[in-house]
């Protein structure tokens, strides 16, 4: 009996998640007075799909040489570099955009450098700017996913290859290419979906109304025309777009793992000669591309740090609390879902789909829908923080879930029967089997969730009052009050706290797993 109820929990959880994501769309649609999309909306859909496609393609393509170089070279600081290169993925978009501008903008480092050689300035604004920003934000993810693929090639296979006298070319053909064929499409799809729902990046770097994404069109439908029907319809189109991609992914590729546990040393015997220089170049360029803008964030932020108004610290505390709470919720939920799907059986497919659903969500429609749903009963301002926690938990769940799923599968196939035969269940199973065996991906996932929750402000803006403002909102407000220096300082604080949270969880997970 107890076990039957236990088996129901994942299904209920998946149902609740789907409801949480879909009900707001319906709530928005219910307030609509008419449904129609104009040619501008379809142009937005086309632009959205096109930029997401190019962004994902470029991210994955560039990630191949970088991940490969990292996989086969060992050097001092390699681990630290891999961790640091993951940072852009955790940046709040507004900070990322200004950081990119500092490097690639008209007055940025790159153009100043070009100016020294008498070359004209290159513009970062336009469709290519959108792609550049998306690559900056998502290349770290692609590199991690591919690197994971490289490290997942069994060492026996490398030994076999060496014993057969394979050179680098044969290695690539027989070991690396088959791995890439199974891992790269998964990485492509994840990044494609992330870029589909992009908003602030496209808006600021897009250069004009030609670069309107679906999420932006939703924003305008709500704000400019108060046309809730159009907003709901666009959200539905966005869902459909992601669904098509997800189904394609389901049919064509195995989902790639997200890259937990990259502490392992390189297994490949590093080839010498020109390849050595090539690898150094790949790592160097990627590091420069990813770290220069981060450096700009630090440089811009440092002077502002000591003029931070007191309430910034209160907001930071609130953000950390929100991030930790939503991390606890999302990690627990993702673990339950991943274990259930790994176990298989009826409904596993549906649970898997529900766990991916939040990726396709329009943050704005989610916020507006929730607002409409709670407002008849309670003042939205009083729910600002709970709603933020819930939304962050839902939006970060797909990442944590995807991280845990493959590891949960391995756990189950290796030790599931033994645990069952010993009657290891419930709390004891969690304590003695699941937590220790999954500590690495759990730590990495929790770090990712915490950092992403720190940076998110999509929904809170509609609910927040002065007393419940989070750090990203304060950054936004400081910028809105001419206080750019203080805003840069607060942004640096935000990045620092996000990164610290990530590091603590990731390190904790690895530490616990190693014991």
């Amino acid at each position: 009996m107890a076990s039957r109820i236990g088996a129901l929990i994942p299904a209920l959880l998946a149902g609740a998640l789907a409801l949480f994501v879909l009900a707001p769309v319906l709530a928005v649609a219910a307030r609509a007075t008419g449904f129609a999309l104009g040619p501008a909306d379809w142009a937005a859909v086309r632009f959205t799909a096109a930029q997401a496609f190019v962004s994902a393609l470029v991210s994955v393509t560039l990630a191949v040489p970088v991940a490969r170089a990292l996989a086969r070279r060992s050097f001092a600081g390699r681990g630290a570099l891999i961790t640091l290169m993951g940072a852009p993925f955790l940046l709040p978009t507004i900070v990322a955009v200004l950081a990119l501008v500092a490097v690639f903008g008209r007055a940025g480092v790159v153009n100043q450098g070009l100016g020294l050689f008498g070359m004209g300035p290159i513009s970062v604004y336009g469709a290519h700017g959108v792609v550049l920003a998306h690559v900056f934000l998502n290349l770290p993810l692609a590199v991690r996913m591919l690197l994971q693929g490289w490290q997942a090639i069994p060492s026996e296979r490398f030994r076999l290859a060496e014993s057969l006298g394979f050179g680098p070319a044969q290695m690539a053909r027989h070991l690396e290419w088959p791995m890439l064929r199974s891992v790269a499409p998964g990485a492509f799809l994840v990044i494609f979906v992330i870029c589909l729902t992009s908003f602030a990046v496209a808006l600021t770097l897009g250069g004009g109304p030609g670069a309107t994404t679906v999420e932006l069109a939703i924003f305008q439908a709500v704000r400019f025309e108060f046309n809730l029907g159009r907003a709901a319809l666009l959200a539905a189109v966005q869902f459909a777009l992601c669904a098509v991609v997800a189904v394609l992914g389901w049919l064509l590729v195995t989902p790639a793992a997200f890259g937990a546990g990259l502490g392992r040393q390189a297994l490949l015997r590093p080839p010498g000669g020109w390849r050595r220089g090539g690898d150094a170049l790949a790592i160097g360029l990627a590091a420069a591309f990813l770290l220069l803008p981060l450096g700009a964030v630090v440089l811009r932020g440092l002077p502002g740090l000591d003029e931070l108004p007191a309430h910034v610290w209160a907001a930071a505390g609130r953000s950390v609390l929100v991030a930790l709470t939503s991390t606890a919720v999302t990690v627990a939920a993702a673990l339950v879902l991943a274990l259930a799907v790994a176990r298989g059986g009826r409904g596993a497919g549906a649970i898997d789909a529900a766990a991916a659903l939040p990726l396709a969500t329009s943050g704005l429609v989610l916020g507006v829908g929730l607002f409409l749903m709670v407002q008849p009963f309670v003042s939205p301002a009083r729910l600002a923080l709970p709603v933020t926690v819930a939304v962050n938990a839902a939006l970060t769940l797909p990442f944590v879930y995807r991280l845990l799923l493959p590891e949960a599968r391995v756990l189950l196939s290796d030790y599931g029967r033994l645990a069952d035969s010993l009657g290891l269940r419930g709390w004891a199973r969690l304590r003695w089997l699941v937590l220790p065996r999954l500590a690495r991906p759990l730590g990495f996932g929790a770090g990712l969730a915490a950092a992403l929750s720190m940076g998110d402000l999509g929904v809170i803006a509609l609910f927040a009052t002065e007393q419940s403002a989070t750090l990203p909102l304060v950054v936004q407000r400081l910028m809105g009050a001419y206080r750019l220096e203080a805003a840069a300082g607060a942004a640096l604080l935000l990045v620092g706290v996000s990164f610290a949270l990530f590091w603590v969880f990731d390190y904790g997970g690895r530490r616990y797993a190693a014991v």
Partner: protein, 326 residues
């Protein structure tokens, strides 16, 4: 952790106490409420003699404010909405959610009278530049379009200044607005979602000029002792942004709401506006205006009536999109 528990406890006590004193809820934009905005001073002054609790609820900006009022509909809890501008008031009036204020509007650079909305401050839109980097700024939209000066502007669909610029060009050029936009297309570095992104990019050196207000240089002068910024005077005249407040028909505290609107035009409210909201107060304070507010006073002020603004908006937006989408 401990302090947050404490804070929760305190806010519960505060809620219980508040049940006895009447509460006036004012829905406004974020920057009004922040500690460097007018909010704190206004709250202290009003609460000093109203025997009530004044609460501000913030939305991100004027347009979000209107969307918020519409989302809440008749069941909303706000009593007063403060911070809409004249590009939005016709739309706001059409919701039927606002009640007449029954007061006389203060005198503005252009005649303004609206039974539902009372102005509390105003400003002229202008392109701001750095005097050292751009000593000789363009003197009109046409000059700007002919030059290779780079500007950054805001999206009219998501930002109040962006919408103001749309109205500015339309009011100045009427049927020729589309042509002007086509001319400006190659000057525009990028279009940002809101004022802060655009201004940030300008300060980073990404553009020579940014769409802002004639009072922006005063901020740098007064708050940062920096006199390097200036607003360029345009021969066509400058479009006015008039910020207004209105009373919601569904208010539970109509007398308090009236009292707040009356208070809004008195010295304690108006005197903090220039150096907190960086706009011209609707009623000039006794001490006059601070330094920098008189450096650029356009001779021609443009302002469409709110009905006119609502009628031309769709067409103006279409022209803008067609010219900039390329």
């Amino acid at each position: 952790m401990k302090t947050s528990i404490l804070a929760t406890g305190l806010s519960c006590i505060a809620l219980a106490a508040a049940a006895e004193t009447p509460v006036l809820t004012v829905l406004t934009y974020d920057s009004f409420v922040t500690e460097w905005g007018p909010g704190p001073a206004v709250e202290a002054a009003f609460e000093a003699d109203c025997g009530c609790d004044l609460r501000f609820v913030g939305a991100s900006d004027g347009a979000a404010l209107l969307a918020r009022v519409q989302l809440e509909g008749a069941s909303g809890t706000a009593d007063v909405v403060l911070g809409l501008d004249t590009s939005l008031t016709a739309q706001a009036a059409a919701t039927g959610l606002f009640a007449p204020h029954g007061m006389t509007s203060p005198t503005l650079p252009v005649a303004f009278d609206d039974p539902l909305f009372l102005p509390f401050d105003w400003g002229w839109f202008a392109f701001v530049h750095d005097k050292a980097k751009l000593p000789d700024p363009p003197k009109s939209f046409e000059e700007l379009a002919a030059s290779d000066v780079k500007i950054v502007i805001q999206d009219p669909r998501s930002s109040t200044p962006g919408l103001g610029l749309l109205m500015w060009v339309k009011a100045a050029y009427g049927a020729r607005a589309g042509e002007i936009w086509t001319g400006l297309a190659d000057n525009i570095v990028t279009v940002t979602p809101g004022w802060s992104e655009a201004y940030g990019l300008f300060l980073e050196g990404e553009a020579d000029m940014v769409l802002s207000y004639t009072t922006s240089p005063a901020y740098h002068l007064i708050a940062e002792q920096d006199d390097s910024k200036a607003a360029a005077a345009f021969a066509e005249g400058h479009y006015l942004q008039v910020e207004v407040a209105g009373k919601l028909a569904g208010s539970q505290q109509p007398e308090l709401a009236d009292r707040f609107l009356a208070f809004m035009l008195t010295e304690p409210f108006q005197s903090v506006i220039p150096t907190t909201n960086w706009m011209y107060p609707a009623v000039t304070p006794a001490a006059g205006l601070p330094e920098g507010f008189e450096s650029l006073r356009p001779e021609i002020s443009l302002l469409m009536s709110s009905e006119e603004a609502m009628t031309v908006r769709a067409e103006a937006l279409a022209e803008w999109q067609a010219a900039l989408a390329r």
